[in-house]
Symmetry: C2
Subunit: 379 residues, 2 copies
């Protein structure tokens, strides 16, 4: 060949080859050079060079040969998910959670600090600090090992991570959460809406794996929603995507309040927080009054879900939040309502991640951000 | 350097370099090698090689030196948009349009064949053929020069291009449009929802240039809607994205029918198709009865628009379709209604492309598909 190839071009090519190798190892698990060459469609010599570079940079390690069984197996290589750590936070009215994850988005330690809705802004930020401290201590890690942090919180959070409006947490609109975290963490910090992170968690680790287009509904006393398109959370042009709950025709918050306030023999004497679960249980037992109350709630829920479905046409709707424990009761009537309104009715599944989903989603999102920074071939 | 670089790697690198050069020329217009090297951040020798390759392949041409003014200007190169042709079709109840475009998505010829809603399926397909014939003849082109075709039609069209449901055109659900076109055109054929193509046209050539996230509303007797995210039309998991018009709470079709049927001194004696325009004109003149009727329509429109806005958070809402000529009357009251419902109110603009927008969008979409096939570095 008589091509003019500059040193800069070769650097770019090496970087692209390294990216291809890292992507193959992350997707396919540990493998020998021969398999890597097949999966990346690169020449064996090229793959060997890339693996050499990546081992030097700390991204790839050779597997312990004893891990294999047969005599003289080919050397296998793996992505070093432990090369860095990310921090995921979930800051709510009743709990602050901190999760430390590896570069594959797996949580290695999670701490929970109970709080109350009555806390002041500063008290809540102090609780955030305590949760981070507990999590790092529990994982035997230090702040310097954290390569990226994502904090989830309830409310309308703009693209710069400012909490524009938070109705669910007292004194929280305008709280300087990103500044507070940036002051103590030596890494980039992202603040994101909690439903969006929960949706991402379901997509990566929960009920929506392998499903790239979905609507997530956070059902409970503080309803929320989020959209995942092409495997990524939809933020919208100002961070307000998924805020269907405020639409006056649906008024999701009021509908779940109505459910909580249902007066029925089944729920008399219960604390407000216990009413919904009792109603759902009574529906399972066939109680007609409870069934009527729950169907009324489902009707409102279906109107909002249909509006989102007719806008983005998701493959799947995931029911999350406190009421997701009763997804068995909600799924079928919701499906039946959607059937009458949508051109194509999405599948409906209950969340499988429970109350840790926002923290798990924050860890996954931190990994996504890190990948974008580390592996963006344009830079 | 002592890198192991295979022949396959160099081929990949050459392809990437060519892509970078084509992208720079398409975005920046004709330019000399020096500028190309700056814009692509490639070495001058690399750019020279890429331009040489591209001229050989027919993608790039040297500009006529007389085009410059000064003595001995540097040679400039341009992308050859005329290297291929694409065909865009708009198949409606009252008109069939065929537009021939170049590889930059500019329409070089457009033909229109008037039809009636009463046509049978076969008669409409024959009208499509006549429109294509007239367009090719008018442009002095043959079918063999068409590299890709996109046909827009009203209705729910699935990802395989099947017309699942079309209420606006008689005998059209299930029509074998893609098969019909594929049988006579020697290129890939895509069938797509017409509102989605109109939205794309506004994004590329009309009211929404430079705006990557928008909601498009087709306002008129057959309302429709579409969403553009990150500069691409959102199809959804089954092709049903944007079908908010069927939501029972909004019932957009009924609301515009109501407007058409308004009984007012202003509209007495008018044909149904003339009522809306007369009402809008009367609003401009300050007629109170007409204003009440139009505001009632805007309220319903706003409810549907708010549901889409709260789901995807667009930067802009474009008003298209027949009523877009009265965007001046609709914009302000629609904005005021949205303001009360949305966390962030998008800007509102009227369409600038008028009745040819679906055909123009089809041409743009055909170019997008062609780019994806021609310039996908993975293949």
């Amino acid at each position: 060949m008589t091509l003019a190839v500059s040193g800069g071009d070769l650097q770019r090519l090496r970087k692209l080859n390294s990216l291809a190798v890292v992507a193959a190892l992350r997707a396919g698990g540990p493998m020998p050079l021969t398999h890597l060459a097949e999966r990346t469609e690169l020449a064996r010599a090229t793959v060997k060079q890339a693996v050499h570079d990546l081992i030097e940079q700390g991204w790839v390690a050779e597997m312990d040969p004893s891990a294999g069984g047969k005599g003289r197996p080919a050397r296998r290589y793996r992505f070093r998910a432990e090369a860095g750590r990310v921090l995921g936070l979930d800051i709510g009215a009743h709990n602050v959670r901190a999760a430390l994850g590896d570069l594959d988005g797996n949580v290695v330690h999670l701490s929970r600090v109970p709080v109350t809705p009555a806390l002041t802004r500063d008290e809540r930020l102090q609780a955030v600090d305590r949760a981070i401290d507990a999590c790092l201590t529990g994982a035997g890690a230090t702040e310097d090992e954290v390569w990226g942090a994502v904090a989830g919180s309830t409310g309308y959070i703009d693209l710069e991570g400012r909490i524009v409006l938070s109705r669910a947490i007292r004194d929280w609109s305008g709280a300087p959460l990103a500044e507070h975290l940036s002051a103590r963490l030596p890494c980039p910090v992202v603040v994101e809406n909690d439903s969006r992170l929960a949706a991402l968690a379901e997509h990566r680790k929960g009920a929506a794996r392998q499903v790239d287009n979905l609507v997530y509904l956070h059902l409970g006393r503080r309803p929320g929603a989020a959209v995942i398109l092409d495997g990524a959370p939809l933020r919208g042009s100002s961070g307000a995507a998924g805020e269907i709950g405020v639409h006056p025709l649906f008024n999701l918050a009021a509908s779940s309040d109505l459910l909580q306030a249902s007066v029925s023999p089944v729920t008399s004497g219960l604390a407000p927080g216990e009413v919904a679960a009792a109603l759902f249980e009574a529906v399972r037992q066939g109680d007609p009054g409870s069934t009527t109350a729950v169907l009324r709630y489902v009707k409102v829920l279906a109107m909002a879900t249909a509006a989102m479905t007719l806008t983005v046409d998701p493959e799947l709707v995931v029911l999350g939040g406190g009421f997701s424990r009763s997804a068995d009761v909600l799924k079928e009537p919701l499906r039946a309502e959607l059937e009458t309104m949508c051109l194509r009715t999405p599948e409906i599944r209950g969340s499988t991640l429970g109350e840790e989903c926002v923290a798990v989603g924050a860890v996954c999102f931190a990994v996504d951000h890190l990948n974008a920074r580390l592996f963006n071939p344009a830079h």
